[in-house]
Amino acid sequence: MNLEVNLRAALRREAPPADFADRVLARVKAKKRRPLRPWMAIAAALAAAAIIPAAYEHHESAKKERAREAARELTVALKIAGQKLHWTQQKIRRRADGV
C-alpha cells in the first residue's frame, strides 16, 4: 500500500458547485452597490467634523442676535410704556392742581 499515492488520490481537488463563480460575482456586484465604503465613511466623518462646529457656531450666533433683538425691542417697549406713564402722571397732576 503506497500511502502517498493514496493520499494524492484522496485529496485531489474537487470542483465547487457549477454556479460558484457566478455567485461570487453576484456578491461582488452587490458589494459594489453598497453606498458607504470605509474611505467614504472616513470622508463623511471628516466632513461632519468640519461642518458640525461651524453649524453650531452659526446657530449660536443667530440665537444671540435674536436675544439682542428681543432685548432692544423690550427696551423700546419699556421706554414707550415709561413715557406713557409719565404723560399719565402729568395729566393726573394737572387735574389735581385744577389746571
Binding site: 484522496a10 485529496l11 485531489r12 460558484f20 463563480a21 461570487v24 460575482l25 461582488v28
Partner: protein, 173 residues
C-alpha cells in the same frame, strides 16, 4: 476596480475556484460551509487585487488566506476537539487497498489530524507543494513542516495498516 482588474479578477476566480474550495472542504468536511468560506476568500481577493501584482502572488495569497481562515473556522465550529497526532481516531470503516472507500477513509483521517498537521498534509498532497513552500504559507520553519509531515504520515500509515490487518483477520475467521 478598474475594468481590466475586474476582468483579471474573474479570470483568477475561475482559475482558482477548485483550489480554494477544495482546501476549505478538506478542513471543514462540509460542502456548504466550505463554499461560503471560499466565497468570502474571493470577496477579500477582490478588495486586495490591486495590491497583488502577479498571478503567482495571487495563488500564494489565496492558499495562505484559505488555509488560515479554514483553521480559524474549524476551531470556531469545534469540528474536532484538539488532539495530538497520537490521539487521531482509528477509522470506523476498514479499507482495502484499491477499495473505493480508501479515499473516503483517508479524507476522514486527514480531517481528524490537528490543524497544522492537516494543513501540511493537504498542502503537500492536494496542492503538491514542497516543505519550503508550505513553510512560507504557514509561517513556520521548513524543518518543522518536514518533521510534522513525517509524523503525520507515520500516524496515518499506522492507523490504516492496523485497520487493514484487522479486516484480514476477520475475513480469515
Amino acid at each position: 476596480l478598474r475594468a481590466d482588474q475586474a476582468g483579471r479578477f474573474e479570470r483568477l476566480l475561475r482559475e482558482h475556484q477548485s483550489m480554494v474550495f477544495s482546501l476549505a472542504l478538506r478542513f471543514l468536511r462540509d460542502r456548504a460551509v466550505a463554499e461560503e468560506l471560499a466565497q468570502d476568500v474571493f470577496l477579500k481577493l477582490y478588495e486586495m487585487l490591486g495590491e497583488l501584482e502577479t498571478d503567482e502572488h495571487v495563488r500564494y495569497w489565496l492558499r495562505r488566506v484559505t488555509c488560515n481562515r479554514s483553521i480559524d473556522e474549524s476551531r470556531k465550529r469545534k469540528i474536532r476537539p484538539r488532539l495530538t497526532l497520537a490521539e487521531v481516531p482509528e477509522p470506523s470503516v476498514r479499507p482495502n487497498t484499491g477499495d473505493p472507500l480508501m479515499s473516503d477513509v483517508l479524507r476522514k483521517l486527514v480531517a481528524a489530524l490537528p490543524e497544522r498537521a492537516r494543513a501540511i498534509v493537504v498542502m503537500r498532497y492536494q496542492e503538491d507543494l514542497d516543505p519550503a513552500e508550505i513553510s512560507r504559507i504557514l509561517d513556520m520553519p521548513a524543518s518543522s513542516v518536514k518533521s510534522l509531515l513525517h509524523r503525520s504520515l507515520h500516524v496515518l500509515r499506522g492507523k490504516l495498516e492496523r485497520a487493514t490487518k484487522q479486516q484480514g483477520q476477520e475475513a480469515a475467521v
